[in-house]
Amino acid sequence: MLDTNLKHIETADILTKIISENENVMVICGRMGPMCIPVYGIAEELEEDYKHVKFCDMEFDSFEANIIRNLPEVQGFMGIPFTIYYKNGKVVKATSSIQTKSQVIIILDKYFGEPNKN
């Protein structure tokens, strides 16, 4: 299991359940390495503001992560983490490798909407 404070997805079935039960889901599929840890950290920080988004992680080397590794949207990817954004169960965006907080915010705001600050 990844050493983060995010919701851990351990099986493909659980991922399928989460994306069917939540309108907006961000899944970071990676390892505990230098390109992945910053993205987990960003998600942990944004979780507080983006209450309408479910933030999760999944172990890249798990067999169950085939559900992400086999997505058509990631076939050109050659850098972890694979970060997948699901809306109503469908992939709306996927990124490869490390991202900055502002890059993540741009995607979240565009596809899931800005957080309600009230």
Binding site: I37, F77, T95, S97
Partner: protein, 313 residues
């Protein structure tokens, strides 16, 4: 001034130097804020295994960073990470840090521990193919290049050691370096020179990354002749050193020609009440242990400065 945004000390940066300073200051009951532009831990989290940190036989950089963070927080240190610094005012007695989100923080003393970041080539297409053929981490992405031909850019210890670690995955490695000699330790040079999967392209640089969905070729220029060639390649790993995160300090504090902060023995800068520590200062060896030492000295100096300032009032 918003009292909630006032601190006795502000530390810029949450690598080992900044976190150590945060631990020392907070433990001394000095109201301290750490402002960090990236991930907590800085370059430390890039280290898979640390085996030479005294007192710990083996620890990952991530674990060590998390422990330091917990320790600082336990003593009451406030940490804001993944923020963007818009401006700093260091000269006034009451220092100021302005964030891009509009928040302004004031303090009597500032410790700059902003660290460094991996240098990029700044070649055409580099941002486009990051994670799609360009990588900065062999342990993270090496297995994507199994049986492929790759280039490793750089000539220091990191480049040569990472090239050796990549040989277990790839078919062939070309080490491409801007100079005609390496800066690495001799044992690393010997190892790459004797490796059957590694060959060399010296005195050259990559100017352009080209491809569609992923990287397909690069334009390489010989720096002596100026001649350019296209090279079909599956991947490029870039290890060309670090640059200090001091752009926001230009014209505000004394830096050397490399952009490193000039400090005295107490980690004091040329500005009263402003100290610096860690990878962003002028120094010979950049290690977690040396950063921790710098952070300690900077915190003790800042604490002494605050004590004297308070005694004056």
């Amino acid at each position: 001034m918003d009292a909630n945004n006032y601190y006795d000390a502000i530390i810029i940066g949450a690598g080992p130097a900044g976190l150590t300073a945060g631990i020392y200051l907070s433990r001394a009951h000095i109201k301290t804020l750490i402002i960090n532009e990236g991930t907590i831990g800085g370059q430390m989290i890039f280290t898979h295994e640390i085996a030479n940190y005294p007192g710990l036989e083996s620890v990952s950089g991530y674990q060590l960073a998390n422990t330091m963070k917990k320790q600082a927080k336990m003593f009451g240190c406030n940490i804001k990470s993944n923020v963007s610094i818009k401006d700093v005012n260091l000269n006034d007695e009451l220092k100021k840090v302005v964030l891009s989100d509009g928040n302004i923080y004031n303090s009597k003393t500032i410790i700059i521990a902003s660290g460094g970041r991996p240098r990029s080539l700044n070649a055409i297409g580099e941002a486009l193919f990051k994670g799609k053929g360009i990588s900065y981490c062999a342990t993270c992405d090496g297995d994507f290049f199994t049986n492929k031909d790759i280039i490793v850019v750089g000539g220091g210890n990191s480049a040569l050691e990472e090239a050796i670690s990549l040989t277990k995955y790839v078919n062939k490695i070309t080490i491409l370096h801007q100079f005609n000699h390496f800066q690495a330790f001799q044992h690393a040079i010997n190892e790459v020179k004797n490796h059957p999967k590694i060959n060399f392209m010296m005195g050259s640089t990559i100017n352009e990354f080209i491809g569609n969905e992923k990287l397909e070729k690069v334009r390489v220029t010989n720096l002596k002749t100026g001649e350019s060639n296209y090279l079909k390649i599956d991947g490029v790993f870039i290890f060309i050193g670090y640059i200090p995160n001091t752009e926001f300090l230009k014209g505000k504090i004394d830096l050397n020609e490399f952009g490193e902060i000039i400090v005295g023995p107490g980690m004091n800068t040329n500005i009263k009440g402003v100290y610096a520590a860690g990878d962003s200062i002028v120094k010979l060896f950049r290690q977690i242990t040396t950063a921790v030492g710098d952070g300690t000295i900077a915190a003790l100096s800042a604490s002494d400065y605050l004590h004297k300032q308070n005694a004056k009032q």
